[in-house]
């Protein structure tokens, strides 16, 4: 049972950058990806549901028109509410085309029961997405023009409230989404002192009812703001030169306050404690080129996923800086297991055999590398409902859904179990 399930590959015909995990209410494992085809008539959002039993993917397709999708995000409270940032080309009198980046909120239509059953794409024929599937249409909820908006980059939904943060050239816009309309709550201009900065990505701080955001700047720095303060107060967290080159992505540790990770053009993943912004807590230099995205596992924050333009996705275990207590894995772990379910026996044997090979069980390490991509990976996300599943999307339109290796999974579970005496409710 220790043979890991092979990764499932789902192919798009066009290029793609936009990938987001869907926090489905029925705990199904869903991802949403958006196509990026500049000259394509129908860009699409693909809502993919992964079936762990058959190791296959079923999909729903939504039409996004001619607008190529740069970024997609789904509201954590409402899996049917999604937002895209897209590029709209308008041809003025044929000769002078103009391109504008816009954003919009969409409502995904409810799945109808009498619809034809979901088309299954088993892993064998996953490379060619079926053209048979019917394309559903999206329902626009709205978008508002914001002053000095510039090019929007992405939209980050608030983890708790019906709010969102739009990251744009013009700055950070806190948007209220309640009561069926979008309204501007606050605007943090893209100014850093007197100089202009451009934000590339931003994330809400999930702690303390999410009143803070952190944004990655093109100067390589990170800026944190408290949305309760007036914008004139300036940033509450300043990390300069977090990256050499542009900072591409930031993510808060969901379980450990003040800790966040950032990735950037220098290919490094750096972990920060916002209370000591002068030096990173830890640095990983895995990517050989830009590290485009980084994300903590929502449940086991020692697991960190990162994707880069070197077409690699790294899954690392950074236990030393995670919220997991430090534990030296001693022998009574085995004793503890003996009176356990038979089911665990073979896990234990796999664990102990592994332990002989790796005496340092607990040290930080790279758990696995997704090698299936052949082009730059711009997005890699954890499944919102399954801590052991993640997806990564490369520019050539290839989505790879991978599992955390079972050995790693059991190791984390067993450690968690030894420490707490109980399993995390979401382990299965």
């Amino acid at each position: 049972m220790d043979i890991d399930d092979p990764p499932v590959i789902y192919g798009l015909e066009t290029q793609a950058r936009a990938l987001c995990s869907v926090p489905a209410l029925d705990d199904s494992q869903q991802f949403i990806i958006g196509t990026q085809g500049l000259r394509v008539e129908h860009n699409q959002l693909h809502l993919l549901t992964f079936d762990a039993d058959t190791n296959s993917v079923s999909k729903r397709i939504f039409d996004h028109g001619r607008d190529e999708i740069w970024s997609v995000s789904v509201a954590p409270q409402n899996p049917n509410l999604c937002a895209t940032v897209f590029n709209r080309v308008t041809m003025d009198s044929g000769t002078n085309p103009s391109v504008a980046k816009r954003w919009c909120l969409w409502k995904l239509p409810e799945e109808e029961d009498n619809q034809t059953p979901r088309h299954r794409n088993s892993s064998e024929d996953a490379l060619t997405s079926s053209s048979l599937s019917s394309v559903e249409s999206l329902q626009s909820i709205g978008s508002i023009e914001l002053e000095q908006q510039g090019e929007p980059r992405c939209l980050a939904f608030h983890p708790e409230r019906t709010e969102a943060l739009l990251v744009s050239d013009g700055g950070l816009y806190q948007l209220g989404l309640g009561s069926g309309e979008v309204r501007l709550l606050a605007h943090l201009p893209a100014k850093d002192g007197r100089s202009q900065v451009r934000y590339w990505h931003a994330a809400w701080n999930p702690h303390h009812s999410a009143q803070q955001v952190i944004a990655a700047c093109d100067s390589g720095g990170l800026r944190g703001f408290d949305v309760r303060c007036p914008p004139s107060n300036g940033p509450v967290v300043v990390i300069d030169n977090a990256h050499n080159g542009q900072a591409r992505c930031v993510d808060y540790n969901p379980n450990k306050q003040y800790y966040l990770a950032s990735s950037g053009d220098d290919g490094a993943i750096r972990f920060w404690d916002t209370r000591q912004p002068s030096n990173p807590v830890k640095m990983l230099r895995l990517h050989k080129h830009w590290a485009c995205c980084v994300q903590f596992n929502p449940y086991h924050d020692q697991l960190v996923l990162s994707g880069g333009t070197d077409a690699k996705v790294y899954l690392t275990n950074n236990r030393s800086i995670s919220s997991e207590p430090v534990l030296s894995l001693d022998d009574d772990l085995d004793d503890d297991l003996d009176d356990d379910l038979d089911d665990y026996r073979d896990r234990k044997s796999s664990l102990s055999s592994r332990r002989q090979q790796q005496p340092e069980l607990d040290e930080d390490r790279t758990v696995s590398v997704v090698e299936e991509h052949e082009d730059s990976v711009y997005a890699a996300v954890w499944c919102a409902t399954d801590p052991w599943l993640f997806a990564s999307l490369s520019y050539d339109g290839r989505l790879v859904i991978s599992h955390v290796p079972k050995s790693e999974k059991y190791r984390i579970l067993l450690l968690a179990r030894t420490l707490t005496g109980a399993f995390h409710p979401l382990d299965y």
Binding site: S98, A242, N244, G245, D266, H289, T309
Partner: protein, 769 residues
């Protein structure tokens, strides 16, 4: 007649016990011959007949005459004898008679004596009869008389004691008291004795107090008297010994006394220690002087104390106490000395070595000498430990200096690189300068520390010192530590954010490599030889092996090189990224020239190539398909020459964007190219790493943009230009081809109106530039 006479003579002679020998000879003949007239078997008849028969008449006559004469002679002899006897008898009779009369007188005297004796016995009996009743009385009186004598003595005792005390004859006073005390204590309950005893006790208490006072003053007396030198202690000690003896007789316990003795000695010790301590905190005094002072005053004093104490208090308990005291003093002293030495080791400059060594040596010798006196407590071992600590501290200080030197050298190098332009400095020269500077610094440091190993230094041959100083402090902590520090320090620069100047990284990378190749082994061997590091497994276990250091250096060099590639590639990439970001690719005019930034990139690349090739040669690259020979002969200027547009190269690559499908096909059928593999130690590998990084960034930036027709064409021109110039710098052309193709394909893909420029026009524009 003649034999007759002779036989008679013999008989006489035998009677008188004389002349036995002759008679024997004569008697032998007699027995045989019956005719021997003197013999026992003389037969007159036979003799006569024989005579008558044998002798003639004349001879008979003569014979007869002779015989008559002889007979006559005999008769007269006999007569004489008889007279003699008779006279003797008479005289004997006279004597007896005389004796008889004498005895008579004696008997009379005896009777007188007997009478006297009986009279005496009579008198004696009378006396006995008279005296018998009064004997007990007499005896008692005699006893009383003796007691009175004693009492008199006791009554006089207080006065006597006072007298003796005043005279200072403590010894006698104590003896007198001791004798009296037995009695006094026995009769202590008698009221009449009590005052005496009380007086005496008071006096003795006074005496005791006086003695104690003197005892305690002994220390201060010594202090004031013996300030100058060690000689002052000895007589005082004798006095003290006397006092201790007296006090001991006064019943003070040895434990108290020894404690008091030590207490008395303690302030002086503490004062000396305090002086030393005060000196230990500063470098004002010479360290030699410090050691001298410590040795001459404190240690000597302590030695004397130990000697005197040992004489006075020989019991094992006192000995233990002394040891404890000695231990405490020595501990403080060693701590102070250690502190001072360490301070000296840390603070003193380069000249301090010999001084410190001499000070250590003197200290060690002195304590070794003392160790002979006090065998307990491992004094010499501890002294050696102090010396070891000082030496190790010195090594540590030297190491710190080296570290500072390194930091200074690195920052100097950095500023040198920053102020002078990249072209104006000769990197190999700088590197060689750094190498010699640091190697010389290490050598100088090692040479300086050799002072500790001079043959005339007492501790230099001790195995413990060798192990601690040579192996651990110098070989491991100083040398291996510094070497390791240097490598990690260099490597740390590679991880800094923001990154230091790329040239520094490049230079240090080569520096690490060269250091590993040339100096590392040399320095280690040098240290092994200079400090006689033994080739034992224990020593090897303590020392980081050269191979490990070498690996560290290789890693550092590789890391630095990689950082250089990243940094300089990053610089180029940054330029390209900014230029791509800033430009409006949608609305633009038809390209007429290569963008300035692209030219700039090519120029910078030439500079990078020049820098790299000044430090790294072609040889180890090996990855390139092209032969290195002709390229290394190129000057950097000629590298700027564009690719010769032969028919082959033209057909090989055309600056037209292939479709995405083409690109996919290309990927399917070509091996996955490791675009951004680690750089090897070689010019081509390094520079192509930079190129690949720049191009990859360009690709990513292009993918983030949307292009109009002319934007695409501009990319086309730029790519062609790059293709024409980059070939010289890369080890593997195909990667550049691939990347440029990808850029074009991506640009085409991102173009809303993908109409590419004519190949010939592109070439024309590039040609013109």
């Amino acid at each position: 007649a003649e034999p007759d006479r002779s036989s008679r003579n013999s008989r006489l002679r035998s009677f008188y016990q004389q002349g036995q020998v002759e008679s024997d000879a004569a008697s032998v003949g007699l027995n045989v011959d019956p005719c021997d007239i003197d013999g026992a078997g003389f037969d007159p008849e036979v003799y006569l007949s024989k005579l008558l028969q044998e002798q003639p008449l004349t001879s008979l006559m003569a014979k007869e005459q002779q015989m008559v004469d002889q007979i006559r002679q005999l008769d007269s002899d006999m007569q004489t004898l008889v007279y003699d006897n008779y006279s003797k008898f008479i005289s004997a009779t006279d004597t007896i008679r005389k004796m008889k009369s004498d005895f008579h007188r004696m008997e009379q005297e005896m009777n007188n004596l007997a009478e006297s004796v009986s009279a005496m016995s009579q008198q004696a009996a009378d006396v006995r009869q008279h005296v018998g009743g009064k004997r007990a009385e007499l005896k008692r009186l005699a006893g009383v008389s003796a007691l009175l004598h004693k009492l008199q003595y006791l009554l006089d005792l207080p006065a006597r004691l006072t007298e003796l005390r005043r005279e200072g004859a403590h010894q006698q006073a104590i003896r007198a008291w001791q004798q009296a005390d037995r009695v006094l204590s026995r009769y202590a309950d008698l009221p009449s004795f009590r005052p005496i005893r009380a007086d005496c006790l008071a006096i003795m208490a006074e005496l005791r107090a006086q003695l104690w006072k003197r005892f305690n003053e002994g220390g201060s007396g010594t202090e004031s008297g013996g300030e100058g030198g060690s000689g002052g202690g000895a007589p005082d000690a004798r006095q003290l010994a006397e006092l201790v003896d007296l006090l001991g007789q006064l019943g003070e316990s040895e434990a108290d006394l020894s404690a008091a003795f030590l207490r008395q000695a303690d302030p002086r010790m503490q004062r000396l220690l305090g002086d030393l301590e005060a000196q230990a905190g500063s470098l004002q005094d010479d360290v030699l002087q410090f050691v001298d002072q410590g040795c001459n005053h404190l240690v000597s004093e302590l030695c004397i104390l130990i000697a005197v104490f040992g004489d006075i208090f020989p019991s094992p308990e006192s000995r233990a106490k002394l040891e404890a005291y000695h231990e405490s003093v020595m501990r403080s002293y060693l701590a102070i000395v250690s502190k001072r030495f360490c301070l000296e080791a840390r603070e003193s400059g380069g000249t301090g070595d010999s001084l410190l060594v001499r000070a250590c040596d003197r200290f060690h010798r002195k304590l070794q000498a003392m160790h002979r006196l006090v065998t307990e407590g491992e004094l010499s071992v501890r002294a050696l430990a102090v010396v070891c600590d000082a030496a190790a501290e010195r090594a540590g200080a030297v190491r710190a200096q080296l570290d500072l030197r390194l930091t200074a050298a690195l920052s100097g190098l950095r500023s040198q690189l920053a102020t002078a332009g990249a072209r104006s400095v000769s990197l190999p020269q700088l590197m060689a300068g750094l190498l010699t500077e640091l190697v010389d610094a290490v050598k100088a440091a090692l040479a300086g520390l050799q002072a500790f190993l001079a043959t005339d230094v007492s501790f230099s041959l001790k195995p413990a010192f060798r192990e601690r100083f040579c192996v651990r402090a110098v070989r491991q902590e100083l040398l291996a530590g510094f070497l390791n520090h240097q490598a990690t320090q260099c490597a740390r620069l590679a991880q800094l954010s923001p990154t230091p100047p790329p040239l520094l990284l490049l230079l240090l990378s080569r520096y690490c490599l060269d250091f590993r190749n040339s100096s590392l082994h040399y320095l280690c061997t040098l240290a092994d030889e200079q400090f006689l590091v033994p080739e034992s497994p224990q020593a090897e276990a303590l020392v980081t092996p050269v191979s490990e250091l070498s690996a560290v250096y290789s890693d550092s060099a590789a890391e630095l090189l990689q950082a250089y590639v990243c940094a300089s590639g990053g610089t180029l990439a940054g330029m390209l990224r900014k230029s791509v970001d800033a430009r409006d690719w949608l609305q633009g005019i038809e390209p007429r020239s290569v963008r300035a930034v692209v030219k700039r990139v090519v120029e910078d690349l030439a500079g990078i190539d020049a820098s790299v090739s000044s430090l790294y040669d072609e040889a180890p690259s090996g990855g390139g398909g092209r032969g290195g020979g002709d390229r290394s002969s190129d000057s950097s200027a000629s590298r700027l020459a564009r690719r010769p547009l032969t028919a082959a190269s033209r057909s090989q690559w055309s600056a037209t964007p292939s479709t995405l499908g083409n690109s996919l096909l290309h990927r399917l059928f070509s091996d996955k190219v490791d675009l951004l593999g680690p750089a090897e130690f070689g010019r081509a590998s390094v520079v192509s790493g930079v190129v690949r990084l720049a191009l990859k960034t360009l690709l990513e930036c292009v993918r983030l943009k949307t292009f109009g027709r002319y934007g695409l064409q501009q990319v086309q021109v730029d790519c062609h230009y790059l293709h024409a110039f980059l070939w010289r710098y890369v080890s593997d052309d195909s990667v550049v081809h691939f990347l440029l193709e990808e850029i074009l394909a991506s640009a085409a893909h991102r173009c809303i109106d993908p109409v590419s420029m004519e190949q010939s026009v592109v070439e024309l524009i590039v040609e013109r530039d």
